[in-house]
């Protein structure tokens, strides 16, 4: 492998004798490892992950892996042979406990201290915990890791009663899997609709309707004020005084970025580790990528923290390139997908601040696209079983296109010709 050229900037790019430590071993970390070697970095790579598992994809945790139809080995981003061939030191089941940014050292939970020339913080996030009486109930679970799913799967028996707290993507995907497995499922959502954070009411109501058709009970505008009961049964107490019996309770109420280590080290954090368009943090030689970062998005003229596979992959690539002295500024249209029943929802862009929704097709069918506009400019799309609309909209959003709403709605114009 060839060396990276050394940069003429104040911060030298990596040369062959240097060490990169990656704190975290998830999607962003796995991508960074591959990208570092692809960019020609020939030095030492140390991958430190708190979970005792090689980097794996999380989306199947609330889909096929939860359903038991996909074994763990098929979740790995790369097989074990990849890390051997790439000469990566994998320290799994090990956490970074302290960061000395100026001294370029980390301390691990086994007491070891490791020095680095460059550090990538890919620490991801953790499931937000319920904060109410009974939050320590033994039948309450969260779903973020393989270990979480292993603890849940045994309880997914036909006829079992499942209460999901939170009607976001995680809650709804679990509901779909559980309904298919024959459980009695109830979703409790505090907002007026499911997916309230991310979709317009029409799309949210469509998803509620699909779930209800599958036998799921959905209660919106419903808070959870506590969990009663003992080890044999959970009783979820709602804000309006109902008590719902459950054999299993899973809360999917958001993700908190893992920034504590970094805050303690004095790096700038604000809803995530603050980075620039090359994934550089406020400390020289230290980069961050993935769910844990707050980063600039030029398309939306704002700073974002995104929880998506796509962002983790692209920031992993950007950070690796930057470490090697190659500028690949991050400029991406955020996108995301969610599989529920036979529906594939693909969303591109961010709809925050929309003032108009244009529907292409109808929510009476299981195939439509909802386009979100502001001042006539396309911000985002929610495409349900409409992959062409999704792909075309991604390009239109990237170009900040102003587009006539009638065009978007007109099915006589083929989706692939929407750009005109």
């Amino acid at each position: 492998m060839s060396r990276c050229p050394s940069a003429s900037t104040l911060e030298a790019a990596l040369i062959v004798s240097e060490t990169v430590i990656i704190a975290g071993a998830g999607q962003a970390a796995g991508q960074a490892v591959a990208s570092l070697r692809q960019e020609g970095f020939d030095g030492r790579i140390v991958l430190v992950g708190a979970e005792p598992v090689l980097p794996y994809q999380r989306p199947p945790l609330s889909k096929a892996f939860l359903a038991g139809t996909l074994p763990l080995e098929r979740l790995f981003l790369k097989p074990p042979a990849f890390y051997e061939q790439a000469r990566v030191d994998t320290l799994l089941g090990v956490a970074v406990t302290e960061l000395d940014a100026a001294g370029r050292q980390v301390r691990l939970d086994d007491g070891r201290e490791l020095a680095f020339d460059h550090l990538l913080l890919a620490t991801g996030g953790r499931a937000r915990r319920l904060d109410c009486p009974g939050a320590d109930h033994p039948r309450l679970h969260y779903l973020r890791t393989v270990a979480d799913v292993d603890g849940i799967r045994a309880a997914l028996r036909p006829g079992a009663r499942l209460v999901l707290i939170g009607g976001g993507y995680v809650g709804l995907e679990i509901a779909a899997v559980a309904a298919k497995l024959g459980l009695a499922v109830t979703v409790l959502e505090a907002a007026p609709t499911v997916l309230a954070r991310v979709t317009c009411p029409a799309v949210a109501r469509f998803f509620e309707s699909v779930h209800r058709q599958a036998g799921v009970t959905i209660r919106c505008a419903t808070t959870v004020t506590g969990i009663e009961g003992d080890a044999s049964l959970a009783r979820v107490v709602t804000g309006d005084g109902q008590r719902i019996d459950a054999d299993l309770v899973i809360a999917g109420i958001g993700l908190l970025p893992n920034v504590e280590l970094v805050q303690a080290a004095g790096l700038v954090c604000d809803n995530g580790i603050v980075v620039d368009e090359e994934c550089r943090t406020s400390a020289p030689g230290i980069f961050a990528a993935g769910d844990c970062t707050q980063h600039p998005n030029a398309i939306y003229d704002s700073r974002l923290r995104l929880e998506s596979v796509h962002n983790a992959i692209e920031q992993g690539k950007t950070a690796a390139a930057a470490m090697c002295g190659k500028a690949r500024p991050y400029r991406q249209v955020p996108w995301f997908w969610s599989d529920q029943y036979d529906l594939k929802l693909q969303t591109a862009g961010l709809n925050r601040g929309y003032d108009q929704v244009v529907m292409r097709g109808s929510t009476d069918s299981r195939s439509f696209a909802a386009f979100y506009l502001r001042d006539g400019r396309l911000l985002a799309v929610d495409a349900v079983n409409r992959p062409v609309e999704f792909m075309v909209a991604k390009a239109l959003i990237a170009n900040r296109t102003v587009i006539a709403p009638e065009r978007l709605a007109d099915e006589r114009i083929a989706a692939k010709d929407l750009a005109g």
Partner: protein, 106 residues
């Protein structure tokens, strides 16, 4: 087990054996065959597992379903031999299949 022959963009030939039921995309990734990204992990949501199937094998594959047919339009260098690797499940019927991988997916 099914044998797959991958031919890289630079002509390198790799003969691998893969468990039945895995996809062509997984076969490539698991055997460190370059040129395949598979960003969405096989969910047919990204079109970055684009491969070219050798002419002799093309019509032995099950036809594309609607999702693959739509997504593959956006794969770079798409031609008649194109398929999305994540949508092709390996089985004894495909033993010996020959697949060409592109230089890159983006």
């Amino acid at each position: 087990m099914t044998k797959v022959t991958f031919i890289e963009h630079n002509g390198t030939v790799r003969n691998v054996e893969v468990d039945d039921g895995l996809s062509l995309m997984e076969a490539a990734v698991n055997n460190l065959v370059p040129g395949i990204d598979g960003d969405c992990g096989g969910a047919c949501a990204c079109a970055t597992c684009h491969v070219h199937i050798d002419a002799a094998w093309l019509d032995k594959l099950p036809p594309m379903e609607a999702m693959e047919n739509s997504m593959i339009e956006f794969a770079e260098g798409r031609n008649e031999s194109s398929r999305l690797g994540c949508q092709i499940k390996l089985s004894p019927a495909l033993d010996g299949i020959v697949v060409r991988t592109p230089l890159g997916q983006h």
